[in-house]
């Protein structure tokens, strides 16, 4: 963490794809500060650059120009090896299509990043058991991914993503493949993580996912067009939501 308390800091960020006439500015001059513990949602139409932004934040892609700071460290200029290490420890990724290792059980999927980061098998087992229990999957630990429902697979993927206690969890359309019940289960897991102080950045099409965030950014053509604080702005009163005729 840097002194400002922002776990993520982005300055004047650009990412271009293609050349000349086919040049696309996927990210077109973005500044962003994400305070530690914030749950941030980014919404926007397909192709607005929100996934590219997420990749830049997590070191999956390098920007054309600008700076990305994660936990007080500039990451857009570090070496490939440094980036690989960063992706293993400092950030956690969750994708729409889960990307679990199909040959490994739920527990083994969660243990894997701990082992890759140099943790002992025992520490890995303990961490996986704890997370699966916390996310309501204790009785699914020995199951292979294909034996799990979509919602269960995504919760395993989230457990894997936070196994190494990353500074930030980055999620790209985490409920894109899920039905309502499974979406609620995933939202409960995010809520649990947020309550524990985890910083989350979630790119989503789903208004109901975005509505649970502390802050909502709208993106269009590679730029931010709106930045709204949702937390603390609502009354929490529900009586205005329905009209009950006498």
């Amino acid at each position: 963490m840097d002194e400002s308390g922002d776990v993520l800091r982005v300055r004047d960020l650009y990412k271009e794809h293609g050349h000349h006439e086919s040049l696309v500015r996927a990210v077109d001059g973005i500044d962003l500060d994400v305070p530690t513990g914030q749950m941030l949602a980014v919404m926007g139409p397909s192709g607005c650059g929100k996934s590219t932004l997420l990749h830049l934040l997590g070191g999956l892609e390098r920007p054309t120009d600008g700076e990305v700071w994660l936990a007080g460290r500039r990451i857009d200029t570090i070496s490939e090896r440094g980036l690989a290490r960063l992706r293993r420890r400092a950030v956690g990724f969750v994708f729409q299509a889960f990307h679990l290792v199909e040959e490994l059980s739920a527990a083994e999927n969660v243990e894997l990043p701990v082992l890759l980061a140099g943790g002992s098998p025992r520490a890995a087992r303990r961490r996986a058991a704890l997370l699966l229990e916390r996310f309501g999957l204790a009785d699914r630990a020995r199951h292979l991914p294909w034996q799990l429902s979509g919602g269960q697979r995504q919760r395993v993927a989230i457990a894997r993503a936070v196994a190494n206690r990353p500074h930030v969890l980055l999620a790209d359309e985490p409920t894109g493949n899920l039905d309502t019940t499974a979406t609620l289960d995933v939202l409960r897991v995010f809520e649990d993580l947020r309550a524990a102080g985890q910083t989350l950045v979630i790119v989503t099409h789903d208004e109901r996912v975005a509505a649970t965030a502390d802050r909502l950014i709208s993106m269009r053509d590679g730029m931010f067009v709106d930045d709204t604080r949702l937390a603390g702005s609502t009354t929490g009163r529900l009586d205005g939501l329905i009209r009950l005729e006498d």
Partner: protein, 174 residues
């Protein structure tokens, strides 16, 4: 609410207090603001309309003035008619649509800004509804009502997204 009260009395007579408890359970967190008076006002109206009759029952010490309500034949007919009815609340979108068109035509305000402000307001409502839905257990019937509220807000937000696309695409639109 009157129709729901009648339907609750279709099987057997009941006390006002009991009816209110059943209503609140069905509505869950969305019924928390319903005050006791609302149910009794509705019952009085139904009685005046000849759809129910009341009879003072032997009171308990802590609630001496209990009334037992029962359906009349006219009330029974009304319940049957209510169940057969297919009326549905109409989405009230014309007002906002006209706000956008008139504001743009007279250059009173930027429609895209109006849409953005409206979107923020709906997102806040969705947030309240979504948090309430997350707090409900999976098997709650009130959770189903919250799900309906959430889906409607989601539909409205998608319409606003369509409005935003249209109004930001064509500056000279009237």
């Amino acid at each position: 609410m009157q129709d729901a009260l009648l339907a609750m009395l279709a099987k057997e007579p009941s006390y006002g207090y009991h009816l209110r408890t059943r209503l609140r359970r069905a509505l869950g967190p969305l019924g928390e603001s319903m005050n006791a008076g609302q149910v009794y006002v509705a019952l009085t109206r139904l009685e005046k309309a000849g759809l129910i009759v009341s009879e003072r029952a032997d009171g308990l010490p802590e609630r001496p003035d209990r009334k037992m309500y029962a359906l009349t034949p006219a009330g029974q007919q009304r319940v049957a008619a209510w169940l057969a009815e297919v009326s549905w609340p109409k989405p009230d979108l014309a007002d906002f649509h006209l706000k956008l068109t008139t504001a743009a035509a007279a250059r009173l305000a930027d429609p895209v800004e109006l849409v953005a402000a409206q979107r923020r307001e709906l997102m806040r409502r969705l947030r309240d509804a979504q948090h309430a839905a997350l707090a409900e257990p999976d098997d709650s019937t009130a959770g189903l009502l919250l799900e309906g509220v959430v889906l409607r807000l989601q539909a409205d937000l998608r319409w606003l997204a369509a409005c935003e696309r249209a109004w930001s695409g064509d500056e000279n639109r009237i």
